[in-house]
């Protein structure tokens, strides 16, 4: 379905079982984006039994049954439209193992709905997700104070939950005053599309109205071009074709580009997307481009394309702010796990633990700590084992974030706050 509406990636975050799935189902249902055959199936059954209107519970059950029937790419991709936007849902699994995907691109979100149960209030994963959303640079947040039906639509419970969530948000330097807190029951459908008669004390917008108050993410076209290379091909009759997604800036035909850390330079002869030639590629575009003056073996996955006069930064070492998500013991100087940053995977060594921070306030808790453990936030110095392109998060945030993995799990997330450029010859 083609649409001219601006696109947004919307993350649904919150503690397990606070109603994330139900909210997603409800959003699809209320906006008419439940897969057709599910609705058809319902109509048939409704006719047979002589029932009237749609029942949300039935639709949810049948969406669940999709799993058993097998999943197609279309079903896996969840989208819906509001009056203003075209949303793709990034329904992040709460599991820490998926943090890598949230950082390296698969699940990057422009805005998030934080789901907090009014019955249970702020829980462990609520805190974790809020912290992560902050780390990942998600600045637009809508708070669904969910399961209001379970607390009999009690305004006191709503206010209490709102107060506790606000405190949590303030801890990580969000400004809850400007955020929308909406009392909802995703299961019953209160304040999702229409104002609920069950919450006469609430005068604010519904979830769908709130979604339309979000600001369209600006495409980072004014930043210098950065395109991390996914793979490189030699195509007969064409030449060398690197493939990847534009993260920032604009790539134009005829442009002189640099590839780092390969330290190679070339000229863009043509750019194609979906097999069609395009004059320029903008952030988000997955493209292949033909480049003059470069051989396939000059480049590898993890290299980054930039303008010839503003080449990507290659770090000899960098200073980073990290948060330890899970580590079985302690992290000390000398520890060398694998850093996942854009398409690069490079082993890097912790060379200095500068400061331990209070993860809630960001205040310095300890200077030069001897070790870091799960839950700690810290400022550290990192030395890559081979040249790595990384940017200061303040300058090019898209290339400043990374995940740290070791022994098959994500142990930390972080961002580069400063770096020492490597001298390339």
């Amino acid at each position: 379905m083609a649409t001219a509406k601006p696109h947004m990636n919307l993350a649904i975050i919150g503690h397990i079982d606070h109603g994330k799935s139900t909210l997603v189902g409800r959003l699809l249902f209320e906006t008419g984006f439940v897969p057709k055959h599910v609705i058809e199936g319902y109509k048939k059954e409704a006719e047979a039994k002589g029932k009237g209107s749609f029942e949300f519970a039935w639709v949810m059950d049948n969406l669940k049954e999709e799993r058993e029937r097998g999943i197609t790419i279309d079903i896996a991709h969840k989208r819906f439209d509001t009056a203003k936007f075209y949303f793709t849902i990034v329904d992040c699994p709460g599991h820490r193992d998926f943090v890598k995907n949230m950082i390296t691109g698969a699940s990057q979100a422009d805005a998030a709905v934080l789901v907090v149960s009014a019955a249970e209030g702020v829980q462990e994963q609520t805190k974790e997700h809020v912290f992560l959303a902050r780390t990942l640079g998600i600045n637009q947040l809508i708070i669904s104070v969910n399961k209001m039906d379970m607390v009999k639509y009690d305004q006191k419970r709503y206010e209490e939950t709102k107060k506790n969530v606000s405190e949590l948000l303030k801890m990580v330097a969000y400004k809850p005053e400007g955020m929308l807190f909406i009392p909802t029951s995703a299961f019953m459908g209160d304040n999702i599309k229409d104002k609920s008669p069950n919450t006469p004390w609430y005068n604010g917008p519904t979830i769908l109205e709130a979604l339309d108050t979000l600001k369209e993410p600006e495409k980072p076209t004014t930043l210098p071009l950065r395109l991390p290379i996914q793979d490189v091909y030699t195509i007969s009759g064409i030449g060398t074709v690197p493939v990847g997604r534009v993260e920032t800036g604009v790539m134009k035909k005829g442009m002189n580009v640099s590839f780092m850390p390969a330290n190679k330079f070339g000229e863009i002869k043509s750019i194609e997307m979906h097999h069609e030639e395009i004059p320029e590629a903008v952030p988000g575009d997955n493209v292949g481009f033909n480049v003059r003056g470069i051989a396939k073996n000059d480049l590898r996955r993890g290299d980054v394309t930039g303008p010839a006069d503003k080449p990507p930064s290659v770090a000899d070492e960098f200073t980073a702010q990290i948060v330890i998500l899970q580590h079985p013991s302690a992290i000390t100087v000398g520890y060398t796990p694998v850093f996942h940053c854009h398409t690069a995977q490079v082993a890097c060594t912790f060379t200095e633990l500068k400061r331990k921070l209070d993860p809630r306030t960001g205040q310095v808790k300890e200077e030069n700590p001897t070790f870091l453990k799960t839950g700690d936030a810290a400022i550290v110095v990192i030395k890559p084992s081979r040249p790595l392109v990384i940017e200061r998060v303040k300058e090019i945030p898209q290339l400043g974030r990374f995940a740290i993995r070791d022994m098959g799990s994500t142990i930390a997330a972080g961002m580069c706050i400063d770096l020492v450029q490597k001298q390339l010859r």
Binding site: C92, H95, M150, H274, H275, G288, R301
Partner: protein, 136 residues
């Protein structure tokens, strides 16, 4: 251990309130053994529900334009049984990628094992997760 079962959720004749559990107008019966898959529409047991299945969509890049994509699809389906759907995606200059939808289980340690399994297949240059969603 008792697990609650809902015999016919749309019958809705009586209602049992259990502490810490909640179900809208649905009769609940205690059962002795867990039935697999435990399928309880509308029932919420705080803390008892696991993460659930996650669907990842991966972009699989072939090693070159000469790789036979039909053969590659077959190889992917044989080698990675969790793959549910495969579609071709045109990239540039005649090069095509494969979009692959696969289920990632609860305790598999994220998408990495899946990426590694796909990347290890002959003719695959790389496999990268491009979309990730929980199943409803």
């Amino acid at each position: 251990m008792y697990i609650l079962r809902c015999p016919d959720c749309r019958a809705g004749s009586h209602r049992i309130r259990m502490p810490g559990m909640w179900c809208t107008d649905m009769p609940l019966l205690p059962v002795q053994t867990p039935e697999c898959p435990l399928y309880l529409p509308g029932l919420r047991i705080p803390g008892a529900i696991t993460m659930g299945a996650v669907v990842a969509i991966l972009r699989v890049m072939p090693e070159s334009v000469d790789v036979n994509l039909e053969e590659l699809k077959k190889a992917i389906r044989t080698r990675v049984p969790s793959v549910q759907d495969i579609a071709e995606e045109p990239i540039a200059f005649g090069l095509k990628a494969l979009k692959v939808a696969a289920i990632v289980g609860d305790d598999e340690g994220g998408t990495e094992p899946l990426e590694l399994a796909l990347a290890a297949i002959d003719g695959v240059a790389s496999a990268e997760t491009i979309d990730l969603n929980r199943m409803l």
